[in-house]
């Protein structure tokens, strides 16, 4: 399902060592991979394997110890609106309504009110939050908050969407529904997505490509292509090919999780 439109993101020899008080901690060994335009790429790994570190380096929120990241051929320096991000923790601005949260980036860029309104309305409907435009985050459920966070990132029209375990704080049922909503949104927008998770089924269900990481210090252990047809539906989770891929990733990650325990 690759767009074949070329390489969007290049991660070249990126590594990260955190300087501790006593000793330095190597979080990420030199890692390189590429993300095609319009591709859904997932980094799958046990906790503490440095997968979020990769995402934060791409976002420009963490500086790599060595290596570089190229977006559309340009090296990234610091954070910017061309790389939208959805965090695991709830990061809506509590003093803004759903609509104003979604319009946050547009307001910063000085987009005229009427245009802002049209864009936010589109994304509010896309993530199924019609009727909640004027609600404040405090009255939203966890799943709704993350849908607003996704809409807010997309409304800003980034080149790539970075998602750091965005459904990690949600209960199992909500999580499944959010995965379907995300797929629907992705199929509509065709954004390039770099997604981080430790959930194997989530990785298979969503992705075109899955990079499995080793335990800390992390590096890519194996890359698995997920050639399941799209659009994907939850019924596919029972199909032999889905189960085979899931088993394969589980085997890979289990070996790493055992090392990390």
């Amino acid at each position: 399902m690759l767009g074949g439109k070329g390489i969007k993101l290049r991660i070249q020899g990126v590594c990260k060592t955190f300087n501790g008080r006593r000793n330095d901690v190597e979080a990420l060994q030199a890692t390189s991979f590429e993300v095609q335009e319009g591709e859904f790429v997932t980094i799958l790994g046990p906790s503490g394997c440095g997968k979020s570190t990769i995402l934060r380096i791409v976002a420009g929120l963490t500086e790599p110890t060595a290596g570089r990241v190229l977006l559309d051929g340009r090296e990234i320096k610091g954070p910017g609106p061309d790389r939208g991000m959805v965090f695991q923790s709830y990061t809506l601005f509590p003093w803004l309504t759903v609509r104003r949260n979604i319009e946050f980036g547009l307001e910063l860029r000085g987009v005229p009110a009427a245009e802002r309104h049209a864009i936010s309305q589109h994304y509010i409907e896309l993530v199924g939050l019609k009727g909640f435009e004027e609600a404040y985050p405090v009255s939203l459920s966890g799943g709704m908050k993350q849908r607003v966070a996704i809409a807010r990132a997309l409304a800003n029209d980034p080149e790539i969407l970075l998602m750091d375990e965005p459904f990690g704080a949600l209960d199992a049922q909500t999580r499944l529904i959010m995965q379907e909503i995300l797929l629907k949104v992705w199929e509509e927008s065709r954004k390039t997505i770099l997604f981080v998770t430790h959930d194997v089924e989530e990785a298979v269900f969503l992705s075109d490509t899955v990079h499995v990481m080793t335990a800390r210090p992390g590096q890519i252990k194996e890359t698995v292509q997920i050639n399941l047809p799209r659009p994907r539906t939850y019924e596919m989770k029972d199909e032999p090919e889905f189960l085979r891929l899931k088993k394969r990733l589980l085997d890979l990650i289990r070996a790493e999780s055992l090392k990390a325990v």
Binding site: L61, T91, F93, P94, F104, L108, V138, A149, A153, N156
Partner: protein, 259 residues
């Protein structure tokens, strides 16, 4: 009787009223029963009579106005400096490194100990009184505002970066709105403290104000007047507290569900 279990609203306010009633009953018993000499503890009736007298001759209102002016001036001057500086210290490590050690040091010097110096430097007029209140309020205030700002979740700042915020717009659109509820709460609490420094400021070299009135009444053994002035300060403090709480609820309605 589980700990922290909620009780009904009426029971809650009933308990508060009961406390006032109990205290009043003990006071009445001690004073009317002549268990404590009248020169030390006036009766509630005596206090009420004194209050009416002081209201009628205008002295209570005058003292209260003078005191309110001093407290408000000292507090506002402090807030105008402490709020921006506290925000800066909570966000920018350079400012934190420069200011915090000194403020943390000065904070432990009692404001009242500076009064002789302030009198030498500023004389006995209003600036000296306002300075005492400022000095008593500022250092606590700036450190509390700093703490509020420090506690703005880093993710909120980071997500604003990924949405295109930078430089001043991060302050403007994230750090300040995120800190505002905590700042208003800090102002409410420190305004209460400013009232406590008022009496200290008015005890020395004042010729008006509630603190002065208390000292003056003590010299002539008018315990009734002392009671009236203390109760007035308590009342004024409570009113300002309610005003702040009202402002808080109006400004930060978004924190409540169902809005």
């Amino acid at each position: 009787m589980l700990l922290r279990q909620d009780i009904s609203k009426s029971l809650y306010s009933g308990l508060g009223a009961a406390h006032f009633a109990l205290l009043f009953a003990i006071w009445s018993l001690l004073a009317y029963g002549h268990l404590v000499p009248a020169s030390l503890l006036p009766t509630p009736g005596e206090v009420a009579r004194t209050a009416i007298e002081m209201i009628q001759d205008g002295s209570l209102v005058e003292h209260a106005l003078v005191s309110t002016f001093r407290v408000t001036s000292g507090f506002l001057i402090s807030a105008v400096i402490a709020v921006p500086l506290g925000i800066l210290m909570g966000t920018w490590k350079w400012a934190l490194g420069f200011f915090e050690p000194m403020f943390g040091f000065v904070r432990y010097m009692p404001a009242s100990a500076f009064i002789p110096l302030f009198i030498l430097w500023l004389g006995l007029g209003e600036p000296e009184k306002i300075m005492v209140i400022f000095w008593g309020t500022f250092f606590q205030q700036v450190l509390m505002v700093m703490d509020v700002t420090k506690n703005v979740p880093l993710e909120l700042i980071e997500v604003s970066y990924t949405l295109g915020a930078k430089g001043f717009s991060v302050f403007n659109r994230v750090i300040i709105p995120a800190s505002l509820p905590g700042i208003v709460d800090t102002l409410r609490i420190t305004f209460g403290w400013a009232w406590t420094y008022l009496v200290v400021a008015e005890i020395v070299g004042a010729s008006s104000g509630l603190g002065y009135a208390i000292m003056h009444a003590a010299r002539f053994g008018h315990t009734g007047k002392i009671f009236v002035c203390i109760l007035t300060i308590g009342l004024l403090g409570m009113i300002t507290d309610l005003i702040f709480k009202f402002i808080y609820n109006v400004l930060f309605a978004y924190q409540r569900r169902g809005t």
